[in-house]
C-alpha cells in the first residue's frame, strides 16, 4: 500500500490531505476540510490538472495586454502547449471579462477567456 501526503491547492487554506493507494486504486482520502479537497486529492493522484493564467497581446486598446485564463482546469502536462497558443495570438479591443480569446487551447477542448476589461483607445 502507498501513502501520499498532498497539500490541497483548492484554496489558500492549504489543507494537508493524505491519500492511501493500492496499485493505483484509491483506498482512502483523509485530512481535507471540504469537498474541494477530496476532489483535488483524487484528481492529483490519478490525473493532475491546473488552471493556467497568463496575458494576451492587445491591439487598439488602452492597455497593451489583457489577462486571461483557461476557463476550466487542463491536464498538467498540457501547460507548456497552452502557453504556446496563448503567446501566438493578438486580440482587438474592446475586450470584456469572460470573452473567449482562444476557442480550444492546445486541443484540450478548453477555451482561453479574458479576465479583465480593456476599452478601445
Amino acid at each position: 500500500m502507498e501513502k501520499r501526503e498532498l497539500t490541497c491547492i483548492g484554496c489558500p487554506m492549504g489543507c494537508l490531505v493524505t491519500v492511501e493507494l493500492d496499485g493505483g486504486k484509491i483506498l482512502s482520502v483523509t485530512g481535507h476540510t471540504c469537498k474541494r479537497g477530496e476532489i483535488y486529492a483524487r484528481k492529483e493522484v490519478t490525473d493532475p490538472t491546473r488552471i493556467v493564467t497568463s496575458t494576451v497581446r492587445v491591439e487598439g486598446g488602452v492597455k497593451e495586454r489583457v489577462s486571461c485564463k483557461t476557463r476550466e482546469d487542463i491536464p498538467k502536462d498540457k501547460i507548456a502547449d497552452v502557453m504556446k497558443d496563448i503567446n501566438r495570438v493578438t486580440v482587438k479591443a474592446p475586450i470584456k471579462i469572460g470573452d473567449i480569446l482562444i476557442e480550444n487551447a492546445a486541443s484540450t477542448g478548453v477555451p482561453i477567456v479574458a479576465t479583465a476589461n480593456v476599452q478601445e483607445a
Partner: protein, 421 residues
C-alpha cells in the same frame, strides 16, 4: 472646501469593500481617492487564480475579483477620483489631495477610512552586499512589468525570499520561458502559502533553498550572477557553502510593509509589530473617526479576508457618521498576544460597541506542529483548538462571542496564545 461623510484613501480591495459596505449601511456621501489610473489596486496585476473562494464561492483571478467590487461601486454610483494622491490627513479629518485637473485641494470628512495597502521591502532595507546593477526588482514590480506592461524582465532568474509574490512570479517567469534557478529563503521556513510552494515551485521543479541567502551580486551595468550561501541558526552565512548562480534578473520577495506615512502624520498610533495602526473592535484608530482596514492595517495572505475586514470598517464608519457608535460606558478590554502569537487585530475591545461576534486575526512568530490555539478570559481558558501546522506565513483567526464575554465577571483581558498541549 469639499465635504463628504466618508473619505476612503485607496481604491484597492479594502477601499472598494469599505465603500460598498458604508453605502449599504445608508451612507450616501462617500469619496474614494485612488492614486493609480484605475480602481482595483494590486489585484489588477495579480492575474493568477485563487481569489474569492470565501467571498464569492468560486475561484477567480485578481482582475476578476477586483471587477466584481468595481461593478458594485458603479451600481451604487459611489464617487471616486483616479490619478489622485492624498498628501496629508489632519487629526481633524481634513484630507489634502492633488491631481492634474484639480491641483491641490482639501476635503472635510466626517470619517476617514485608511485603505492605502502596503509596499514591498526594497533592496535598500535588506543589506545585500555587492554591486547595484540593473536587473534587480522587487517581485511585485516585476509582476507589474510582466503582467501589465508586457515586458520580459529576464531569462535566467534567481528569487530571494519565499513570499507569495515571489513564488507566484517563479511560476509566471517559468511559463513565459525563463529559467528560474532557485528561490532562496533566509528563514528555515517559507514565508508564503503552502499551496503556492506546491503549484508554483514543485510543479516546475524549482528548488526552494531554506536557510539560504544572497551574499554577493555581480555585474556593473546589468546583473550577471549572484552568490548564495547557507546560513546558520543566527542567520549568518556559513563559509564554504557559497554557490554562484549566473542570472540576468534577481527578484526580491522579502516581506510587505503597511504604507502608513499618511496615518503617522495624522497622529495615528502605529503598532511596532505590524507597522499598521493600533485599532479597537470597530477598526477605529486612536483618532476618532479614523478607521483602517486591509493591508495598511496588517498584511493579509487572502484578499477575501481583506474584503471582510474592510466591510466591517465601512459599516462602523457609516455608524460613526450617523452618531451610532458613540461613547460606551464599558471599559476597554485589552486583547493580549502571548506565547508565540506576535500580534492581534484588533488589540482592544469594548463590550458596549462590540457586535455579537468579533473576529480576531493574528500571526505567529515560528512554525508550530500539532499545537493548540488557546483563548483565555483573564486566567480562564475558553478556547483550545488543535492545529496540525501553524506558520508565520499564514494568518490565523479566533472568534469571540459577546454573550460569553459579557457573562464573565470582571473581565480585564482576553489572551490569545499558542500552547503545546
Amino acid at each position: 472646501m469639499m465635504q463628504y461623510d466618508i473619505v476612503i484613501v485607496g481604491g484597492g480591495p479594502a477601499g472598494l469593500s469599505a465603500a460598498v459596505a458604508a453605502y449599504d449601511k445608508g451612507c450616501r456621501s462617500i469619496l474614494i481617492i485612488e492614486r493609480d489610473s484605475e480602481l482595483g489596486g494590486i489585484l489588477n496585476q495579480c492575474i493568477h487564480n485563487g481569489f474569492g473562494l470565501h467571498t464569492f464561492k468560486e475561484e477567480l483571478t485578481g482582475p476578476e475579483y477586483a471587477g466584481r467590487y468595481i461593478d458594485m461601486v458603479y451600481e451604487r454610483n459611489i464617487e471616486f477620483k483616479l490619478n489622485t494622491m492624498v498628501m496629508d490627513i489632519s487629526p481633524e479629518r481634513v484630507v489634502t489631495a492633488m491631481n492634474r485637473e484639480d491641483g491641490m485641494f482639501e476635503i472635510e470628512a466626517k470619517a476617514v477610512i485608511l485603505a492605502m495597502g502596503c509596499r514591498e521591502r526594497p533592496r535598500g532595507a535588506l543589506n545585500i552586499p555587492g554591486y547595484r546593477p540593473a536587473g534587480i526588482f522587487s517581485a511585485g514590480t516585476a509582476q507589474r512589468l510582466v503582467n501589465i506592461e508586457g515586458y520580459m524582465i529576464g531569462k535566467e532568474v534567481v528569487i530571494l525570499g519565499s513570499g507569495d509574490i515571489g513564488l507566484i512570479m517563479a511560476r509566471r517567469m517559468t511559463l513565459e520561458g525563463a529559467k528560474v534557478r532557485c528561490v532562496a529563503e533566509l528563514m528555515p521556513y517559507s514565508g508564503g502559502l503552502k499551496r503556492n510552494i506546491v503549484q508554483c515551485l514543485d510543479d516546475f521543479g524549482i528548488p526552494l533553498l531554506l536557510s539560504h541567502t544572497v551574499v554577493d551580486i555581480e555585474g556593473k551595468e546589468h546583473i550577471q550572477a549572484v552568490t548564495i550561501a547557507e546560513v546558520d541558526e543566527n542567520r549568518k552565512p556559513i563559509k564554504g557553502t557559497e554557490v554562484r548562480y549566473p542570472c540576468d534578473a534577481l527578484l526580491l520577495s522579502c516581506g510587505l510593509i503597511p504604507e502608513n506615512e499618511l496615518s503617522a502624520s495624522a497622529g495615528v498610533e502605529l503598532s511596532r509589530v505590524t507597522g499598521g495602526p493600533v485599532v479597537n473592535e470597530s477598526l477605529e484608530t486612536n483618532i476618532k473617526g479614523v478607521f483602517a482596514c486591509g493591508n495598511v492595517l496588517h498584511v493579509h495572505d487572502l484578499v477575501d479576508y481583506v474584503s471582510e475586514e474592510a466591510k466591517k470598517a465601512g459599516e462602523t464608519a457609516a455608524d460613526f457618521v450617523r452618531g451610532e457608535i458613540g461613547e460606551s460606558t464599558e471599559q476597554e478590554i485589552v486583547i493580549k498576544a502571548e506565547s508565540g502569537v506576535r500580534y492581534t487585530v484588533p488589540s482592544t475591545l469594548n463590550l458596549g460597541r462590540m457586535d455579537e461576534t468579533l473576529v480576531v486575526r493574528f500571526r505567529v512568530g515560528d512554525v508550530y506542529k500539532d499545537a493548540y490555539v488557546s483563548v483565555y478570559l483573564n486566567d480562564k481558558r475558553i478556547q483550545h483548538k488543535k492545529k496540525r501546522v501553524i506558520a508565520p506565513g499564514e494568518m490565523e483567526q479566533i472568534i469571540l462571542k459577546k454573550s460569553e464575554l459579557s457573562a464573565f465577571d470582571d473581565l480585564q483581558t482576553v489572551t490569545v496564545k499558542i500552547e503545546k498541549e
